[in-house]
C-alpha cells in the first residue's frame, strides 16, 4: 500500500498537486495500479534489455541546412509573447 506521503512525493516529481480531499481515493487507486504493476516481481529474468529496434539501427542525416520554422510560427500557440520571446508575467521573473 502506497502512503499519502509517497503520493504527494510522486505528484511533486510529476509537477502535479493533490488536494487533501483527493488524496484518499487517489491513494487507493494508485495502490491498486502499483500492485498490478508489481505482478512482474515474481518473474525471474536476466540478460539484456535489447528490444525489437535492435536491427533497425539508427543512421546520421546529411549535415545540410533545411527550411525551419519562423519565430511567428513557433510563437503562434504561446499563451503570451513579447517580441520574439515566450512571455511570462514580470512578477514571476522577479521571484
Amino acid at each position: 500500500m502506497i502512503s499519502h506521503d509517497e503520493i504527494r512525493k510522486i505528484a511533486e516529481l510529476s509537477k502535479l498537486s493533490v488536494s487533501d480531499e483527493e488524496l484518499p481515493a487517489l491513494t487507493e487507486q494508485m495502490s491498486n495500479i502499483i500492485a498490478f504493476a508489481g505482478e512482474i516481481s515474481a518473474a525471474q529474468v536476466s540478460g539484456s534489455t535489447e528490444g525489437f529496434t535492435r536491427d533497425s539501427g539508427s543512421d546520421l542525416r546529411e549535415d545540410i541546412v533545411t527550411p525551419s520554422l519562423t519565430p511567428d510560427e513557433i510563437l503562434a500557440n504561446a499563451s503570451a509573447r513579447r517580441d520574439n520571446f515566450f512571455a511570462v508575467r514580470y512578477s514571476l521573473i522577479n521571484k
Binding site: I10, L13, S14, L16, I40, N77
Partner: protein, 484 residues
C-alpha cells in the same frame, strides 16, 4: 467490396463528382454526429477544397491516385497545419499545429478529403473513449455502448457510415480494440513501418500510426500509401510494401499459430466465434499449430510500466508556456506549471503520469522499470521463437465485446482488457483486427492476426481470404450516404 474502390469507381466513371460525394458525407456526418460523437470538429472547407481539386483533375481527364477524393477523418492527435488538434484534452483545446504530420502530408498530396478530426481518449490514454474531454464516442451498433478507445471516434465514424476510413494511433491496442468493438478492420503496423512525425506522442517506443477501414482491401490500399521511410522519424524504415497487389495468394501451407496463453480467459460467444474463424482458415488450406508464449503473462504490467514511464516524460512538455492551456491564477513559476497541469489534464492522464514517475523514481527504478525492460526483451525473443514454427498467430483482439457507456470498471480492470493487443506493441509487431462474428446482443467480435516484423502483406492477404470465404458477412457498415 472495398469502399475506397467503390468511391473511386464512381468518380472515374463520372457517375458522381467528388463535390457531390463530399457534400453528401458532410451532411450525413453532421446529422449523425450528435448521436455518435465521433467527430470533435468538422473541416468542411478543407474537404470541399480537396473535392474541387479532384473534380478539376477529372474534368481535365487526369487519372486519380489511390485514395484521391475519398472522404476520411484523422484521429485528433495527428497534426494538421492550421486545423486545431486537441488530443481530446482541455490542455490542447485551442492548439493549432504549425506543421502537418507525415501521413497527412501524404494524404493531402493525394487530395484526400478530410471531413474532420476524430474523437479519442485524452492523449490516447484509455480503453472506452470516456477519458475524452469532449465525451465518449458511441458505438453505431448500439449507442448505449462505447465505440472503444483510444481511437473510438474514427471507428465510430467509419462504422456509422460517416467516413470511408480513418487514420489513428495504436500504443497498446488503440486501433485494434475499437475496430473490434465496431466490426471493422484495424491495422497496427510494424513499429517503424509508418512515420510518426506529427503524431502527438504518448509512449514513443510503442506508438504507431495505423488504419481503421471496412475491409482488408481498403486497409491494404491505405497502408501502401502511408508506409515507408521518413527522415523526420528516425525509427521509420525504408521498406516498401505493395500489400494491395498481394491479396489473392492462396493460404495453402500457411502455418497459423494458436498461442494458448491468449485463450485462457476466453469463453462464451467470443470463444465460439474464434473457433469458427480457425475452422475457416483450416478450410482455406492453412495449418493450425498450437504454440506457447509464456511471456504473455507479464505483458500487461510490462506495458503499463514502460508506457507510463515514457508518458510521464513526454507529458512534461505541457507547462503552459510554449503552447496549450495556461492556468490563470498562480503565485510563481512552479505554481503556474503545477496549476496548468492540474487543470489541463484529466484524471486518467494524471494517473498514468503518476505511475510513470513512480516507476522511474529512485528506489523503484530497478524493481519496475529495469525489470520491465528485461521482460520486454524476453517477450520479443519468445515471439522470435514462435515464428520459427509458424507464419502468423491467431488470437482474440479483446477478451470482451464493446463496453457499456458509463461503466464502473476500475482503472486496473480496464487495463486488463488490453492483454491481447498490448503484447503486440511490446514486441513492435504488426497486428490486424478483423471482424469475425457477433455476440448474442449483436455486438461485433474481432479476431487478431499477429505477424512477423513487416509481415503486413501476409496478414492482409489472410484477412482478405477470410472475408471472401465468409462473404464479408461480419462487416456491417451503416449506409448513411445514400448516393454511395
Amino acid at each position: 467490396m472495398s469502399i475506397i474502390k467503390k468511391i473511386s469507381g464512381k468518380l472515374t466513371s463520372g457517375e458522381l463528382s467528388c463535390s457531390e460525394i463530399t457534400r453528401a458525407y458532410i451532411e450525413a456526418a453532421k446529422s449523425r454526429n450528435p448521436e455518435l460523437n465521433a467527430y470533435i470538429a468538422f473541416t468542411e472547407q478543407t474537404a470541399l477544397d480537396a473535392a474541387a481539386a479532384v473534380d478539376k483533375k477529372l474534368a481535365a481527364g487526369e487519372a486519380l491516385m489511390p485514395l484521391e477524393g475519398v472522404p476520411m477523418l484523422l484521429k485528433d492527435n495527428i497534426s494538421t497545419k492550421g486545423i486545431p488538434t486537441t488530443c481530446a484534452s482541455k490542455m490542447l483545446e485551442n492548439y493549432v499545429p504549425i506543421y502537418d504530420a507525415h501521413v497527412w502530408d501524404i494524404l493531402k498530396s493525394r487530395n484526400a478529403v478530410l471531413l474532420g478530426k476524430g474523437n479519442m481518449d485524452e492523449f490516447a490514454m484509455g480503453s472506452t473513449g470516456e477519458t475524452s474531454y469532449f465525451g465518449a464516442p458511441k458505438n453505431p451498433h448500439n449507442t448505449e455502448y462505447c465505440a472503444g478507445g483510444s481511437s473510438g471516434g474514427i471507428a465510430s465514424a467509419v462504422s456509422g457510415g460517416i467516413a470511408a476510413y480513418g487514420l489513428g494511433s495504436d500504443t497498446g491496442g488503440s486501433i485494434r480494440q475499437p475496430a473490434s468493438f465496431c466490426g471493422l478492420v484495424g491495422l497496427k503496423p510494424t513499429y517503424g513501418a509508418v512515420s510518426r512525425y506529427g503524431l502527438i506522442t504518448y509512449a514513443s517506443s510503442f506508438d504507431q500510426i495505423g488504419t481503421v477501414a471496412p475491409s482488408a482491401e481498403d486497409t491494404a490500399i491505405i497502408f501502401d500509401a502511408i508506409c515507408g521511410r521518413d527522415p523526420r522519424d528516425m525509427t521509420s524504415c525504408d521498406i516498401e510494401q505493395n500489400t494491395a497487389a498481394a491479396l489473392s495468394k492462396p493460404l495453402n501451407g500457411l502455418k497459423i499459430g494458436i498461442p494458448a496463453e491468449f485463450y485462457e480467459d476466453i469463453g462464451g460467444d467470443i470463444g465460439k466465434v474464434l473457433e469458427n474463424a480457425a475452422e475457416v482458415y483450416k478450410k482455406l488450406g492453412a495449418e493450425l499449430v498450437a504454440v506457447s508464449l509464456p511471456g504473455v503473462k507479464s505483458c500487461l504490467p510490462v506495458y503499463y510500466i514502460l508506457a507510463c514511464a515514457e508518458a510521464s516524460s513526454n507529458m512534461g512538455r505541457y507547462d503552459g508556456i510554449r503552447y496549450g492551456y495556461r492556468a490563470e491564477e498562480f503565485t510563481d513559476m512552479n505554481d503556474m506549471i503545477i496549476k496548468t497541469r492540474n487543470e489541463g489534464f484529466g484524471e486518467e492522464v494524471k494517473r498514468r503520469i503518476l505511475l510513470g514517475s513512480y516507476v522511474l523514481s529512485a528506489g523503484y527504478f530497478d524493481a519496475y522499470y529495469k525489470k520491465a525492460q528485461l521482460l520486454r526483451s524476453k517477450i520479443c525473443m519468445d515471439f522470435d521463437t514462435v515464428f520459427n514454427c509458424c507464419d502468423m498467430l491467431l488470437t482474440p483482439t479483446v477478451p470482451v465485446t464493446a463496453i457499456k457507456c458509463g461503466n464502473t470498471l476500475s482503472p486496473v480492470e480496464l487495463y486488463r482488457t488490453d492483454i491481447c493487443t498490448s503484447t503486440v506493441n511490446i514486441a513492435g509487431l504488426p497486428g490486424l483486427s478483423i471482424p469475425c462474428g457477433f455476440n448474442a446482443d449483436g455486438l461485433p467480435i474481432g479476431m487478431q492476426l499477429i505477424g512477423k516484423r513487416f509481415g503486413e502483406s501476409g496478414l492482409l492477404n489472410a484477412a482478405f481470404q477470410f472475408e471472401r470465404e465468409t462473404d464479408a458477412q461480419y462487416i456491417k457498415i451503416q449506409e448513411r450516404v445514400a448516393i454511395i
